[in-house]
């Protein structure tokens, strides 16, 4: 089960930025509902509302390995279509999961979906922190379960509002952020 929380960001009368984390958020709640809740909760205070971020983390049943080989940061630029994770990321072959981080550039609002469509390994992923609307970037940590070198996962990334990523204009990511 995914563990979800929201982070309510506001500014107190002294100009200080405050962040309030609320855990055990219903994963079925919509972004709009969570934003409204954040605004209503903040309205009980003298703080100026900033934003509500939704954080989703999928629980992996093993720890990410670290080992002696650290996969490199992969910036998805340009879009890799639905191809495999590059094999030059040095995933080791000792049955452990290794973390890779993909940085995704996006634009707009909504939700990003990762869909596994093939390959010979499995993976799970987590959003690292939250989406940053000022830089249009988000970091996803990948946990790849590999037992043999060269194993890979085919996956597709798309936004809930534009399912077919190939329809996106070249050079842009119209992924939408879970920043609400």
């Amino acid at each position: 089960m995914a563990d979800q929380k929201i982070i309510l960001t506001s500014t107190n009368p002294g100009g200080q930025t405050l962040q309030k984390t609320l855990t055990d958020i219903n994963p079925d709640a919509t972004n709009a509902q969570l934003k409204t809740f954040g605004q209503k909760l903040n309205a009980l205070t003298n703080n100026t509302y900033g934003k509500t971020d939704r954080i989703i983390k999928y629980n992996c049943d093993t720890e990410a390995g670290g080992g002696s080989q650290t996969p490199t940061l992969q910036l998805i630029s340009p879009f890799l279509n639905d191809g495999p994770i590059p094999t030059n990321t040095n995933f080791n072959a000792d049955g452990k999961r290794y973390v890779n981080t993909l940085q995704i550039q996006y634009d707009g609002d909504g939700q990003i979906i990762f869909e596994t469509i093939g390959g010979n390994a499995t993976m799970c992923y987590a959003v690292e922190g939250s989406f940053d609307p000022s830089t249009h970037r988000a970091n996803f940590a990948f946990y790849l379960n590999a037992t043999v070198s060269g194993q890979y996962v085919h996956f597709k990334i798309y936004a809930t509002e534009t399912e077919n990523f190939k329809a996106v204009e070249a050079g842009t990511y119209q992924f939408v952020a879970i920043n609400i």
Partner: protein, 80 residues
Amino acid sequence: MADITKTKGVLQLVAEFTDGDDRTITVDNPKATITAAEINAVAAYAKNNNILLGDKAGADFSRFKSAKKIAQTTKYLDLS
């Protein structure tokens, strides 16, 4: 250097869930004019939209069973 006194206000809400569990939510700088009706309205929204889940068994949120405005005063003593 003289002693320094700082005061901070917090609103402490105890959220109750249908399995009997509860959880405390604290927010800083509550409004001086805040009312029970305003707090209950937030609870109603959370309940009607299933925002919060209990942390033990994912039970549904019932209500805020208590709300406290707490003024925390801290005096920093000058030890010089």
